[in-house]
């Protein structure tokens, strides 16, 4: 089984009738994800894709016994939706939405943590458990093949790029996790490394990092101490000028902290090879 999600994962989509929500819920169903319900303030009582019951609130959706949620509501309402999920006892919380104020993310994270809830995002592509056919999020389903490579990334499209390259190299993936591009996201590399290290399905690990913060450096130190499995990496933002936010709110070099050089150096020192181009990542794998 994959990490964080498996065949028993029952997903509710908060905001299933919105533009994003409905498109990705459809893709998730096509991938095999068990979506048990969706919420919509205006379309309660209908069925999504002639199949998934749509109700007006998460409380009502609890009758379908979801244990995971995908939140796809506008940024100002994300905190309320997340608190609703935390209060209802959901166990995995994935926030698709971009531009969530990080103070809201901070409140969500600490409340999720105290309840033992796994939080993914905001502003990440979600999680794909390849073997368990459970995708929560927006990764394009057709790039995956079942295999032993686990991937964790702060970026969305770049993850697809690398997963695609891994698949095309003849390998396959176990679990692929997008951490999210915001300064505050639910999972750090270390949280997922812990899971990957003990996951029997995973034999090799790819970390995709970018400029900003020091989570890659912390991950490198953790790998040195605790990770026996092979880890390779790719870091983006080598050519980014300091002081500029490169699209992601989290991707900024401030006062010399968060450079690609520092991250690449930390990984190299931990024995983690870093690819020059996304497409070279598979060359570093076994």
């Amino acid at each position: 089984m994959s990490v964080f999600v498996d065949r028993n994962t029952r997903v509710v989509v908060q905001g299933i009738t919105g533009k994003q929500g409905s498109f990705h819920a459809g893709e998730m169903l096509a991938f095999g994800t068990n979506i048990v319900a969706g919420t919509s303030p205006t379309k309660a009582g209908t069925k999504f894709n002639d199949k998934v019951p749509v109700v007006s609130s998460l409380r009502e959706a609890m009758q379908y016994e979801p244990n995971a949620t995908m939140i796809s509501v506008a940024a100002p309402y994300v905190k309320d939706a997340a608190f609703e999920a935390i209060d209802a006892g959901i166990k995995l919380l994935y926030i698709l939405t971009e531009h969530v104020p990080f103070h809201d993310s901070m409140d969500i994270y600490h409340n999720a943590k105290r309840k033992g809830i796994v939080m993914l995002g905001p502003n990440g592509p979600g999680i794909t458990g390849v073997a368990s056919q459970c995708k929560i999020g927006i990764m394009p389903g057709k790039i995956f093949r079942k295999g032993n490579v686990a991937v964790a990334s702060r970026s969305g499209t770049l993850t697809y790029e690398i997963v695609d390259a891994v698949t095309k190299s003849g390998r396959g993936e176990s679990t692929v996790i997008g951490l999210g591009g915001d300064p505050v996201v639910g999972l750090n590399y270390i949280d997922v490394l812990q899971q990957f290290e003990k996951d029997p399905e995973t034999e090799q690990i790819v970390l995709v990092g970018e400029i900003g913060g020091s989570n890659e450096e912390l991950a490198a130190a953790y790998i040195k101490k605790h990770v026996k499995k092979k880890v390779v990496a790719y870091i983006t933002g080598r050519s980014a000028p300091p002081g500029k936010r490169m699209g992601h709110a989290g991707a900024i070099i401030e006062k010399g902290v968060g450079t690609a050089e520092s991250k690449i150096k930390a990984f190299n020192e931990a024995g983690v090879k870093v690819a020059d181009y996304p497409i070279n990542v598979p060359d570093l794998l076994e």
Partner: protein
């Protein structure tokens, strides 16, 4: 988003943190009658204003008028001074440092303070800096202030004021959605009172929907960047000659990195974000065209943004902006085959592989 000093001080005042008496001057007629010695501070977002001549002192009506006249409209390290802050001169006894910022790793506020301030905190000895991660569910509580005061060895009366300022600073950090709120220097003045002699506040720009009062023009951005941002594009000007459009911040950065490693020179960073609208794609070319690149690279891996949507957008843009420069497109992911067909019909080359597209565009563009 950075706030100007005077805006930060308005926030301080609102929350009860003592600031010097002062007022903002945008034109000479704003100058109030001279009463006591003042300092005239250019309102620009730049450290070390003083050394660059951005701060003047005035001990008379005439000096005040002259100082304002010199600063207003001047440029300091390329930044135009459109406002100055006229403030009472303080009787400095000591300068301290205090800030609250986001600590990304713990996903919590972090308090940093030191009895030594007035210089960049990075230059202060590590063993003279007090740092404490604040558990956001507990919030700020007095014991944190007491620990800081003990560390800094402040005398009790100063310590009491310091603790009271900390509580307000934490309130500001949360209520105003700060990434950083910093007082440097926090001054002890002649009468033993603490005064925030400067302010630095960085506001989370994603929170502006609940802080309309803070919408200011970011002076660190170029006019073209501001224009593109106002249309919803994440856009940064660079100094090369290859226009770049990609989807996703990570992929856009990786595209720049790949171009650079191939000796190509990107002209810009343009992230379409999570759009799935052909018009949004087409309209993005306006800013690429204004940047006058020699060639254009579009790099799309389809997720939220579907490849056929992008292809349609590129075709629309080619006609709308009468684009003569070569466009190299890479499409992969959701609906890539459909997208490539659309581009082929519009006479635009496309590749499934990012590396091929990068190589091609660098080759076409040539050395410069």
């Amino acid at each position: 988003m950075n706030l100007y000093e005077y805006m930060g001080k308005d926030v301080f005042r609102k929350h009860g943190i003592p600031v010097p008496d002062g007022y903002v001057v945008e034109q000479e007629s704003d100058i109030r009658p001279f009463q006591k010695p003042v300092v005239i501070k250019s309102q620009i977002l730049l450290g070390g204003r003083g050394k660059s001549g951005g701060i003047k002192f005035a001990k008379s009506e005439q000096e005040l008028k002259d100082g304002v006249k010199q600063l207003l409209g001047s440029k300091i390290r390329d930044l135009a001074v459109t406002k100055v802050l006229v403030e009472e001169m303080l009787d400095i006894k000591k300068e301290m440092y205090v800030s609250i910022a986001l600590d990304r790793t713990s996903k919590s506020p972090i308090l940093i303070c030191s009895a030594e301030g007035g210089v960049e905190i990075e230059s202060v000895d590590h063993d003279k800096i007090f740092t404490r991660i604040i558990d956001p569910l507990l919030g700020y509580s007095q014991f944190i202030g007491r620990d800081a005061v003990n560390f800094m060895k402040l005398d009790p009366e100063i310590g009491k004021q310091f603790i009271s300022i900390l509580a307000k600073l934490y309130e500001i950090f949360n209520q105003e959605d700060c990434e950083l709120v910093e007082i440097n220097p926090l001054m002890i003045v002649g009468n033993g009172k603490l005064v925030a002699a400067d302010s630095k506040m960085v506001i989370d720009s994603d929170s502006l929907f609940r802080h309309r009062e803070f919408e200011v023009i970011d002076p660190e951005k170029t006019p073209l960047e501001l224009e593109a941002n106002s249309k919803g594009y994440s856009f940064i000007e660079l100094d090369g000659n290859i226009g770049v459009i990609a989807n996703g911040a990570g992929l856009t950065m990786a595209t720049l990195d790949a171009l650079t490693l191939h000796k190509g020179k990107p002209r810009n960073f343009l992230d379409l974000g999570g759009t799935d609208n052909s018009e949004t794609v087409a309209a993005s070319f306006e800013f690429i065209m204004k940047a006058k690149p020699k060639s254009i690279l579009v790099n799309i891996f389809g997720g939220i943004t579907k490849c056929d949507t992008v292809a349609n957008g590129i075709a629309m843009a080619k006609t709308r902006f009468d684009i003569r420069q070569p466009i190299v497109v890479r499409l992969s992911g959701i609906r890539d085959e459909e997208g490539r067909k659309i581009l082929k019909d519009a006479g635009i080359d496309s590749f499934p592989s990012m590396m091929e597209a990068v190589e091609r565009v660098v080759k076409i563009t040539g050395g410069n």
